[in-house]
């Protein structure tokens, strides 16, 4: 096969036609921060954390196809500042209570925060009033931390074949809703074993009776950066796809 290449921060990176920039970067061991993307699902392009510059123009690496002649900037001070701002926006949009959150230490939003050097939330908080749905026997939905990445929407629809979630509202009021006549999780066929119950990058979908299982010091991001964890996961998925 004819070798195709793009350049990421000056490094030649091979790609196959049809691959996104994110996929090519992942295969080459280059981490591009992301939250709404997970190679197990169709790319979505909504969080914009993966914003890179392609020949000087901004693009989301997770949805942008790799193509000949692309000079891509990824790890630059300017782009990292943009990512820090976006991460902060996600924090102030919801109610994030990191120290007390059951997901703390295993939360991707928090880990991205470490990665981009975020020391405070900087912007004024919106303190939204959001509902907790504890109706389901095994799973709890605490939307205070939902970042509307739609990973659960995609997982439930495309993998579980159940279509349990959807989005409603517009603008800052955009929110996750449950696909049942009552709007409650208990009235769906959702189960804790669903893919959608596992994919939430933050502490919005929580399995009940499992809180704080892992002691501080042994949590995922106590020892690894999101870059390492993410590359390992994403490469495994991509490898499985191709193998």
């Amino acid at each position: 096969m004819k070798p195709y290449h793009i350049s990421i921060d000056g490094q030649a990176v091979p790609y196959q036609p049809g691959q996104t920039i994110m996929e090519a970067a992942t295969a080459a061991g280059i981490y591009i921060p992301h939250l709404c993307h997970n190679p197990e699902f169709k790319p979505h392009g909504s969080c914009k954390l993966c914003t890179v510059k392609v020949n000087g123009r901004s693009a989301a690496a997770c949805t942008m196809p790799a193509g000949e002649g692309q000079e891509i900037q990824n790890n630059t001070p300017e782009l990292n500042a943009t990512r820090r701002a976006i991460t902060r926006m996600l924090f102030v949009e919801g109610n994030h209570i990191c120290p007390g959150c059951e997901k703390t230490g295993n939360c991707q939003l928090q880990a991205v925060g470490y990665y981009v050097g975020m020391l405070d939330t900087h912007y004024p908080h919106f303190f939204p009033t959001r509902r907790v749905d504890a109706s389901h026997p095994d799973v709890m939905l605490d939307l205070d931390r939902c970042i509307v990445c739609e990973l659960c929407v995609r997982a439930s629809r495309d993998v579980d074949g159940k279509n349990v979630f959807g989005l409603a509202g517009r603008g800052l009021q955009t929110r996750l809703v449950v696909n049942s006549a009552s709007g409650l999780l208990k009235d769906t066929d959702f189960s804790a074993g669903d893919k959608a119950a596992q994919v939430c990058p933050v502490g919005a979908i929580l399995i009940k009776r499992k809180g704080y299982e892992v002691p501080i010091g042994e949590r995922i991001f106590d020892h690894h950066t999101i870059g390492e964890v993410s590359l390992e996961h994403d490469q495994a998925v991509l490898g499985a796809d191709h193998g």
Partner: protein, 611 residues
């Protein structure tokens, strides 16, 4: 509130009228809203059962569009346009007056369910404002007297048919016709010419004309149509006659949501034949059988007249089967109404909306021209673009290209509003200077103009020599004049609120960023800003521009960035001298308690803010 049997029968009729098609969801929901004054939970459950559309999708759609609501609106649902031009004409005082007369709070529905009053984004009546809507129908030239009369009619329960006709009168106000509007047009003439010349020669005329899209971005129209005709890459392997079997669609974008734009309204009101003929020419060239006119909900008053034009064209053999006797040339057009969402003017969001979904812009590539409506090759063009295409098909490419500039051929129709003596419609060859336009519309000594609407460019009085053209000032058609005494900060504030209100919410930088911009800008306008906040505005603006998913987010900071650049002194004059100020007003936070306790004495106030 369980639905009555009569309600259920009615809902069933609505669904049946739309063939029970899930793509018709938005159209169905509009009618449910009109009938029940909201879309109650029970109606969503009902639709979920009959349409087999998941409840979350129905809820998602209802909550996305401004003209649909999950809680009851009044039987008279009044909305006052909150566009900057309406504000300049006193709309806010009129809205307050209306609320007071009716005893209802803005944004709320009166307890007896009779009436609700709210603001709405630009209704496209900028040159005959202050404007509003009642149950979706346009109200123009509001003033104290009309507001008083409206309140009486509401209290008397008078049906809208009994309201004075002049309240609903929408004028064209064409002050300066040019290349397109000066020349007459016989329905069918462009199509006849097309068949006389043949497809390839007509394509060549279109190419020669240099026509670029009139919706703002200015993409070459001939190229767009050719891409659509040639189809997606995966099809390019199959022979041309096979490719012609692909379903294609032609969509006319009449969403016209950019504040200050109303020229498409006039074109559809008085020149609909040309617009539909342009769509039919396009269909003939690209091989489409079905077309849509996506008409913004604010132009509900045009819906019936446009249906009548379509019917007439069918009668004339210009739409439907075997058009103009050409075997195999079948094409028809359907009108889809929007429901109050500026983002649905963005072409891929428009297509989502046509498919009965929330108006979220899609990821690109692929582009609509290869993967549009139902994933099929689709042309989306502005109303004026189709009208121009019809005129080019009739008069030829050279006729058109003889006007305008090197990179912007032909003419541009402008909607002019704001501080000028003769607001309305003007048509100019590209290359005309702002100064000339200002003189024509009777703008005496303005301090600036907004060209291209909030997403366009603000130009100060030092820049009036600039030219209307894609090379300099591109515009979809909005041209708002600001006279001396207007405050650029208030203008920027109105636009910034508009964007925050209209962000679809799909991507983080726009969803959160526009709300942050709005809050910080408000803070400065309220006199609580600091130099730090100014720096923050500039910084945030840059980030939102660079990282947003679509044109809305990418331009949302323009009003702030361009006014900051031109009037730094005005911004600085509003600042507190301290380096940091809290974003909220401690005393203001006590307002609710004061209302609840009925106290407003000195001890019920804090001194904090005014030292």
């Amino acid at each position: 509130m369980p639905l009555s049997d009569a309600d259920l029968v009615h809902l069933r009729t609505i669904v049946a009228r739309h063939g029970g098609e899930p793509t018709e969801l938005l159209q169905i929901l509009r009618e449910v809203q009109a009938y029940l004054h909201h879309v109650p939970h029970e109606a969503m459950v009902f639709l979920y059962e009959v349409l087999q559309v998941p409840p979350a999708q129905i809820q998602g759609v209802v909550e996305f569009y401004s003209f649909l609501s999950t809680t009851p609106r009044g039987h008279y649902d009044l909305r006052v346009s909150d566009s900057i031009t309406d504000q300049m004409l006193g709309s806010r005082a009129l809205a307050a007056d209306l609320c007071e007369r009716l005893g209802v709070r803005l944004g709320e529905t009166r307890a007896d369910g009779a009436v609700s009053v709210d603001y709405t984004s630009c209704t496209g009546m900028c040159e005959q404002g202050p404007a509003g809507l009642v149950n979706g129908l346009a109200l123009t030239r509001l003033d104290r007297a009309r507001i008083g009369r409206i309140a009486e009619l509401v209290e008397a329960g008078a049906p809208l048919e009994a309201w004075p006709e002049e309240f609903f009168a929408v004028a064209d106000n064409v002050h300066k016709p040019g290349l397109l509007l000066e020349n007459g047009f016989e329905p069918g003439a462009a199509l006849a010419k097309l068949f006389e010349r043949g497809r390839d020669a007509t394509f060549a005329e279109l190419e020669q004309s240099g026509l670029r899209g009139r919706g703002g971005a200015g993409f070459n129209t001939a190229w767009k149509w050719r891409f659509c005709y040639e189809g997606p890459d995966e099809d390019s392997f199959c022979p041309m006659d096979k490719r012609s079997e692909v379903q294609r669609f032609v969509i006319c974008n009449a969403d016209e949501g950019e504040p200050g734009t109303f020229k498409d309204r006039v074109l559809l009101n008085s020149h609909a034949h040309r617009v539909f003929e342009g769509m039919t020419v396009c269909a003939a060239l690209v091989g489409a059988k079905r077309g849509f006119l996506y008409l913004r909900g604010e132009y509900l008053h045009l819906y019936q007249p446009l249906l009548a034009v379509l019917e007439e064209r069918r009668r004339l053999g210009l739409l439907g089967q075997t058009i103009q006797g050409r075997e195999g040339f079948d094409f028809d057009i359907k009108i889809h109404l929007g429901a109050g969402a500026y983002i649905c003017g963005e072409e891929s969001a428009l297509i989502e909306s046509l498919e009965g979904k929330r108006g979220n812009p899609r990821n690109r590539p692929p582009y609509p021209v290869t993967h549009g409506y139902l994933g099929q090759p689709t042309v989306v063009n502005n109303v004026e673009t189709f009208l121009s295409a019809a005129m080019i098909a009739l008069h030829g490419g050279a006729w058109f290209a003889a006007h305008g500039t090197e990179k912007s051929k032909g003419s541009k129709i402008l909607s002019i509003s704001g501080d000028c003596a003769r607001p309305g419609i003007y048509e100019y060859p590209f290359g005309t200077t702002v100064a000339e336009i200002l003189a024509d519309c009777g703008a005496s000594d303005p301090f600036g103009a907004q060209v291209g609407g909030p997403s366009g460019t603000f130009i100060s009085d030092k820049e009036f020599g600039r030219k209307l053209a894609f090379e300099d000032l591109a515009t979809g058609g909005s041209f708002i004049v600001f006279g001396q005494g207007r405050d650029p900060l208030e203008v920027a504030r109105n636009f910034t609120h508009f964007f925050a209100h209209e962000s679809c919410g799909f991507c983080t930088p726009c969803r959160v960023g526009t709300a942050l911009l709005r809050n910080i800008h408000d803070k400065i306008c309220a006199g609580h800003g600091t130099p730090y906040d100014l720096a923050e505005l500039a910084d945030l603006g840059k980030i939102i521009k660079g990282a947003s998913h679509c044109g809305l987010g990418q331009t949302a900071a323009n009003p702030i960035l361009t006014t900051l650049e031109r009037y730094p002194g005005l911004y600085e004059a509003r600042l507190k001298e301290t380096v940091f100020q809290p974003g909220f007003d401690l005393d203001g936070a006590l307002e609710v308690s004061r209302r609840l306790t009925g106290r407003d004495d000195a001890h019920a106030h804090l001194e904090q803010a005014n030292q």
